[in-house]
């Protein structure tokens, strides 16, 4: 039964399974386990990034397309909800209209980009998307009448999802049952459903063909798959999921601006999450998001403690200054590509015992999945 939910793609490793269950349980119970606004914010951000990173994994890990324009779709989702809620006033109607419009825009753009990607070399494509994403962000801030420019948009959500709304006056297990809580659980359910849907897609026959295309596009075409169609469908799907993640972001923050949903930094975060978690595994997106968002949110606090501890050594203290948290994030970045080329999931899965006893006595290969290598960009 559970296996069906997971589309017969179970974690395949005990530790991994435990980690995933822990993550699931923590996210489910965050409001009760760790009280406070910050914890809930962090948990919600994890939920959003799980969806966003998984959608990117669909593109990167499964289809082998490196696009830096992914946050563009994230932004479209966020702006869809933001603009609709600003113009139409708070309400479910605005949410629905905003999301629908965003999905349509994303669909069209993703289709265009998907078709364009076939004309140019893969590596060009990555760099072009980089330029595109930058231009799109500028565009968003230029159309200030519409998007609120650099300052962004602040808006309200339907009453039930607002902090002001109280389900009951008496707190439950010490947690006040307000609109924030309802909003969080709404996000939780949506994220879970989207995540399982993506897991299903990559484990469908379609998903396998994507992997084949990633591995050897030429041969996939030669055995009869219309690579163009598969690629484009995959780009569109991934864009739509990203759009939904963007909508979630808007619902949660009740704010959106160019830096919040379109910045290159988010793109980097997503890349890093997918890499840390393990490309081409979907589960990696969940674990990566959990690790990364927590690290990002508490890194500065941690560094503060560390730099106070080494206050005697000014040189080290300067490096450990909380202001230089990006330095450490960058280091994390490099080290994870260095030491975790297959990500956490890849590492854990590689630890599983050999599937079969070694065949001939002379050649005794300890079979283990070699790290994913080769070039996703080219091919």
């Amino acid at each position: 039964m559970l296996s069906r939910f997971l589309s017969n793609d179970p974690p395949r490793n005990k530790v991994l399974a435990v980690v995933l269950v822990l993550l699931f349980a923590t996210l489910l119970l965050t409001p009760f386990l760790i009280p406070g606004v910050k914890a809930l914010d962090v948990a919600a951000k994890i939920l959003i990034f799980v969806v966003l990173a998984a959608s990117f994994d669909l593109l990167l890990g499964y289809t082998g397309i490196v696009s830096f324009a992914h946050t563009m779709f994230f932004g479209i989702g966020a702006y869809g909800v933001a603009i609709a809620s600003t113009r139409m006033g708070a309400g479910w109607g605005a949410l629905a209209v905003g999301l629908a419009a965003a999905l349509v825009v994303s669909f069209v753009l993703a289709l265009a980009i998907g078709l364009f990607s076939l004309r140019v070399r893969a590596i060009f494509f990555s760099m072009i998307t980089l330029a595109f994403a930058a231009a799109f962000q500028t565009l968003a801030s230029q159309l200030s009448d519409f998007t609120g420019g650099e300052d962004g948009l602040t808006f309200k959500m339907p009453e039930v999802l607002s902090p002001g709304f109280k389900l009951s006056e008496t707190p439950f297990l010490g947690v006040s049952l307000d609109g924030r809580l309802i909003c969080y659980y709404l996000m939780f359910v949506v994220a879970l459903v989207l995540f399982l849907a993506m897991l299903r897609i990559v484990n469908s026959p379609f998903g396998r063909v994507l992997q084949a295309i990633r591995e050897n596009e030429f041969r996939a075409e030669a055995i009869g798959y219309r690579v163009v169609v598969y690629r484009t469908v995959s780009s569109i799907l991934s864009a739509l999921f990203a759009t939904m993640a963007g909508a979630m972001l808007s619902v949660w923050l009740r704010y959106n601006g160019p830096d919040t949903s379109l910045s290159f930094e988010i793109m980097m975060d997503v890349l890093l999450i997918v890499v840390i978690g393990g490309m081409g595994t979907i589960y990696g997106a969940a674990i990566g998001s959990g690790l990364f968002v927590v690290a990002q949110s508490y890194l500065q606090d941690l560094l503060k403690l560390a730099s106070e501890a080494v206050a005697g050594l000014p040189w080290l203290a300067a490096l450990l200054s909380p202001d230089r948290w990006l330095l450490w994030l960058g280091l994390l970045f490099v080290l994870s590509v260095y030491y975790f080329p297959t990500g956490v999931v890849g590492r854990l899965r590689a630890m599983r015992p050999p599937p079969k006893p070694p065949a001939p006595p002379a050649a005794t290969p300890i079979k283990r999945t070699p790290p994913l290598q080769g070039d996703f960009v080219e091919n």
Partner: protein
């Protein structure tokens, strides 16, 4: 090389574009100002992009961290020039060069040295894998930028142009900044040097072969590792030089300047055909001109002029103007 029948079309694009816009601009002096400024700007862009072209074209390494070396070069220049106030303060160009040249040399040395470490610790493990290159060099970029902040502080630092290089030369109503002329000279020198090394020596060949099959080149008896390091160091040094040129042009430097020019450089490289030196030059000149022409004719569109140019070129030649044999 294969330039038996050299393809002149892309090079011809540059004058073609300039002639095409002449009637649109109308005033001759304005056209001269814009064209000369655009070409010179193109040269500056070429200088900052040349290192990356080299590294990408020869080693197939997509260094997203290239910008760090540009910023580094610029910051080193602030330190060097800052300590040579007597030379920069003079209004004689030659005395100024006494300060600027050492600044360039030091910047190139420092950038080259850091490039050595960058190659060793960041790039070497990911040769042959573009995705990992992108990821790890991005990480390197973040680290580099933060380290610059640790050393020089997060503030912008002024990098004033030496006295003698300020001001403009006037041709009737048309004004041409002196500094841009200097940039043209430096740019041509870089271009000539690169072209010579790549086409007239075996080194270029060897490295191109090394990208395709490293093991085979080693089996033929060449120390490809050393060569790769060398190329990377030269590429970084060129970025350092570009940083000095760019910093002096902007007259102030910020730690983020590397990241800021990254997209621009990429556009130039794509137009040029990723790794072709001549292509990068053509790309840079086109970008420089386009920015000025659209900036004058339709400023609203200027923002997207680079991207539009890139798309147009790719529709014409999907591999860029001078595609390497791939």
């Amino acid at each position: 090389m294969k330039n038996l029948d050299f393809d002149w079309m892309p090079l011809a694009l540059v004058p073609m574009l300039a002639i095409l816009v002449l009637p649109m601009i109308g005033s001759g002096s304005t056209w001269v100002t814009l064209t000369v400024a655009g070409l010179a700007m193109g040269m500056i862009i070429f200088i900052i992009a040349s290192g990356l072209t080299l590294v990408f074209g020869l080693m197939d390494v997509l260094n997203f961290g290239h910008g760090v070396f540009i910023a580094l070069g610029a910051f080193v220049a602030t330190s060097v020039l800052g300590s040579m106030g007597d030379y920069t303060g003079s209004s004689s160009l030659w005395v100024n060069l006494m300060a600027v040249l050492p600044a360039m040399v030091v910047a190139m040395l420092v950038a080259g040295a850091i490039g050595l470490a960058f190659e060793r610790f960041i790039v070497r493990p990911v040769y042959g894998n573009h995705l990992k290159q992108i990821l790890i060099t991005m990480g390197g970029m973040i680290i580099g930028e933060e380290l610059i902040k640790v050393i020089w502080g997060p503030l912008q630092i002024p990098l004033p142009l030496p006295e003698g290089m300020r001001g403009s030369i006037y041709l009737g109503d048309a004004a041409i900044e002196k500094y841009r002329l200097l940039a043209v000279i430096v740019g041509l020198a870089v271009f000539g040097g690169l072209l010579w090394t790549l086409t007239r020596t075996k080194i270029g060949l060897l490295i191109r072969a090394g990208v395709q099959d490293r093991e085979m080149v080693e089996s033929l008896g060449y120390r490809i590792k050393t060569l790769f390091i060398g190329v990377f160091v030269v590429g970084s040094a060129l970025a350092g030089l570009g940083g000095v040129m760019w910093g002096l042009y902007q007259q102030n430097v910020i730690p983020q300047m590397g990241a800021q020019v990254n997209v621009l450089i990429f556009i130039v490289l794509i137009i040029g055909g990723l790794g072709s030196t001549t292509g990068a030059l053509v790309g840079a000149l086109l970008v420089g001109l386009m920015a000025n022409y659209t900036g004058f004719l339709a400023p609203k569109a200027a923002l997207f002029s680079n991207i539009a140019l890139m798309m147009a070129i790719l529709l014409w030649r999907p591999q860029g103007v001078y595609a390497l044999n791939k």
